[in-house]
């Protein structure tokens, strides 16, 4: 029984401003940290791809069952997420140590004092950023065999 109430001039202005704001809505990524590798707008994938997290996937036990390569992948590409944190925990359980200065992982139990050419091969990875950057040109081989 109330019937409509005509909009006042002020309301008209407010609507006009809302309308113009409607043209550039905030995007969900505007409210979150910049993520280089995890675009906020997921690309469309076939529906039979797994669309959601696996059950119990946010537990350390789950991560400990992942391969080391997968853990490295998650650590470097899912930066700032809980998955990265759990991957780091799982790597530590496999006696990997993260070296904050070089932002790299080592599997030796004590931290290396110096990283250079004379560095012994063995149960660890020698990871040279510059070489990695050149890998296409010089055919970089990834000292990897002990991990297999």
């Amino acid at each position: 029984p109330l019937g409509p109430v005509p909009l006042s001039k002020d309301h008209q202005f407010q609507f006009t401003m809302l309308e113009s704001a409607f043209l550039h809505l905030p995007h969900p990524s505007d409210s979150e940290r910049i993520k280089l590798y995890l675009p906020r707008n997921p690309c469309s994938t076939p529906h039979y791809y797994n669309q959601g997290p696996l059950p119990h996937s946010d537990s350390l036990e789950f991560f400990q069952r992942l391969s080391t390569e997968t853990l490295f992948f998650i650590f470097y590409y899912m930066e700032g997420s809980k998955a990265q944190y759990l991957a780091a925990k799982a790597l530590k359980k496999q006696s990997w140590r993260f070296h904050t200065k070089y932002m790299m992982w080592f599997q030796r139990h004590e931290e290396p004092k110096l990283i250079n050419e004379e560095y012994e091969q063995g149960t660890y990875i020698y990871f040279d950023y510059e070489k990695w950057g050149q890998r296409k040109k010089e055919g970089f081989t990834f000292e990897y065999k002990y991990l297999e």
Binding site: L25, P26, P28, E32, L38, G52, G80, S81, F98, M103
Partner: protein, 47 residues
């Protein structure tokens, strides 16, 4: 009449709170696990 509020993309049957994965008033689906910020050690922010 009105909206079907169960079709607004919120998991209203969840036994846990749903605000931690709320993706915002314009999103049709909750956040994916990797969208939710997690405060790990700052050293891990490499890129």
């Amino acid at each position: 009449l009105g909206q079907d509020l169960t079709a607004l993309g919120l998991n209203l049957n969840s036994p846990e709170n749903i605000y931690p994965t709320f993706a915002g008033p314009w999103a049709d689906a909750p956040c994916r696990p990797q969208d939710v910020e997690f405060h790990g050690p700052p050293e891990y922010i490499i890129n």
